[in-house]
Amino acid sequence: MSEEIIKNIMVGEHEDYLINMGPQHPSTHGVLRLEVSLNGEDVKKVTPHIGYIHRSIEKMCEKDTYKQIIHLTDRMDYLSAHMNNEAVSLLVENALQIEVPERVKYIRAILDELSRIASHHLWWSAFGMDLGALTTFFYGLRDREKILAIFEESFGSRLLHSFITPGGLMHDVHSNFRKDTLEFIKYFRKKLPEYKSLLTDNIIFHQRTKGVGKMDKKTSVAYGVTGPSGRGSGFSCDVRKIAPYGVYDQIEFNEILKNDGDVFSRYLVRMEEMEESMNILEQLIDKMPDGNEYTAKMKAIVKLPEGEYYQRVETARGELGVYVVSTGAKHPYRVRFRTPNFSNLFVLNNLAKGGKIADLVAISGSLDLVIPDIDR
């Protein structure tokens, strides 16, 4: 062994100590590998490695009809399945200038908000567990179960619904849908304060999250961090407000903005969004027209006119953009999904750099990553 090599082995200070977090790690919530360079306990650099569950959804879309694409979008961000379906449906409807019945728009918005709450439930449960608060998991999943029961009653599925299609809905919702949703709001209004006393007001939780993983507004805009993670840094990016779709322009609600930009403020944004979603739900249920219309008249084979189309939708994690190039055939020529988690992931290095390795779990948890949405 040459002298130089021995010297390199002996002098560890000049080398990065590399640790692989993942691909199988409980706090990454999926197959994501973070290559972490360490100096003792301090994080020097985080390099995400992705692609473990890349399924080439964009390529598959080129061989599918527009109605078939819906089923693939479910599998991107599986916790925002309704919003993903809605993005493609809205794009097709806008391109063909189809006006869907008013009732459909309200049902879609109700489903969006219900899945937003359910998604935040799961995030809250897992986030608490990441930080060592095991009880949150039972509280969160208990309440999420109520929403999944509503979904199951209407669509027969709990996670991947494929319910919103171009032109309307697959079929009508269950007759109990309105009653169940109202009951859930009544139930969850009582339960949400429990979340506050359990975790939000906990002093240990404050010490783990306050001032950790700071992201200013400029970084958030530059890296395209949208959704609750971006709004935690004061970046006004709620697509429901800035480019309203469906019935969101007829509903009164606030965009939740916090300016601290740390883990705790991203946490608060999601907690307040759950409350705001319930306010939206109450208005929607109030205004939802009676009847049994669930779809507009659509041709059996959908063909978009030649051209390019873009549709933005707010999912539970940020802005989803669908870009379609059509040549007038029944298959799209090119489909592109701008998924929120892809942009949200790559800011991780900026947030974790200079902090402790233990905070990395809190930071990646506060970004609320869903890995299939990154890989697509």
Binding site: I50, G51, H54, S56, E58, K59, K63, V221, A222, Y223, G224, F235, S236, C237, I242, A243, G307, E308, Y309, Y310, R312, E319, G321, Y323, V325, Y333, R334, R336, R338, F342, S343, F346, D375
Partner: protein, 154 residues
């Protein structure tokens, strides 16, 4: 609609490098690839509507050429514009990177390099993102997957 035609007029005065038209949804600017970075910088530094939020970068393979499409939003006014450039060289396409203006472009460009094989000059870290190094460029139209299990009828 009026606001958007206004924006087209303003942009055509301020951005003399490209052609500004009104697309079916957003104003569109089409530039030559060698003027892409300059135009992007001008758009980012606009006074009233700085287009500081890069929503999306993507490419489309038109068999004879590639089209690069940038969707930009101004966080002041929430107006969206589309910046496009056409890469004529289909065999070894390349263009200047804009990752120094919008850091998010670094990773979106890596994805485009991975799936289309478009090279970005001055990119800090141009590696494959999803695929292995010797894999083809799967989103090109002439890509043939030899181990594909399912065959689609055309």
């Amino acid at each position: 609609m009026d606001n958007k035609t206004d924006l087209v007029e303003v942009l055509s005065k301020l951005i003399p490098l490209g052609k500004v038209t009104m697309g079916n949804q957003y104003p569109e600017i089409i530039v030559d690839p060698d003027k892409l970075h300059k135009t992007a910088l001008a758009l980012k530094d606009l006074k009233t509507t700085p287009f500081d939020f890069l929503i999306d970068v993507t490419a489309v393979d038109f068999v004879t050429h590639f089209l690069l499409v940038f969707h930009l939003e101004s966080t002041n006014t929430h107006e969206v514009i589309v910046l496009k450039t056409q890469l004529e060289d289909h065999d070894s396409p390349f263009v200047d990177s804009v990752s120094d203006l919008w850091p998010t472009a670094e990773f979106q460009e890596r994805e485009i390099f991975d799936l289309f094989g478009i090279r970005f000059n001055n990119h800090p870290d141009l590696r494959r993102l999803f695929m292995e190094d010797d894999y083809g460029y799967p989103l090109r139209k002439d890509f043939k997957d030899e181990i594909n299990i399912i065959e689609y009828p055309n």
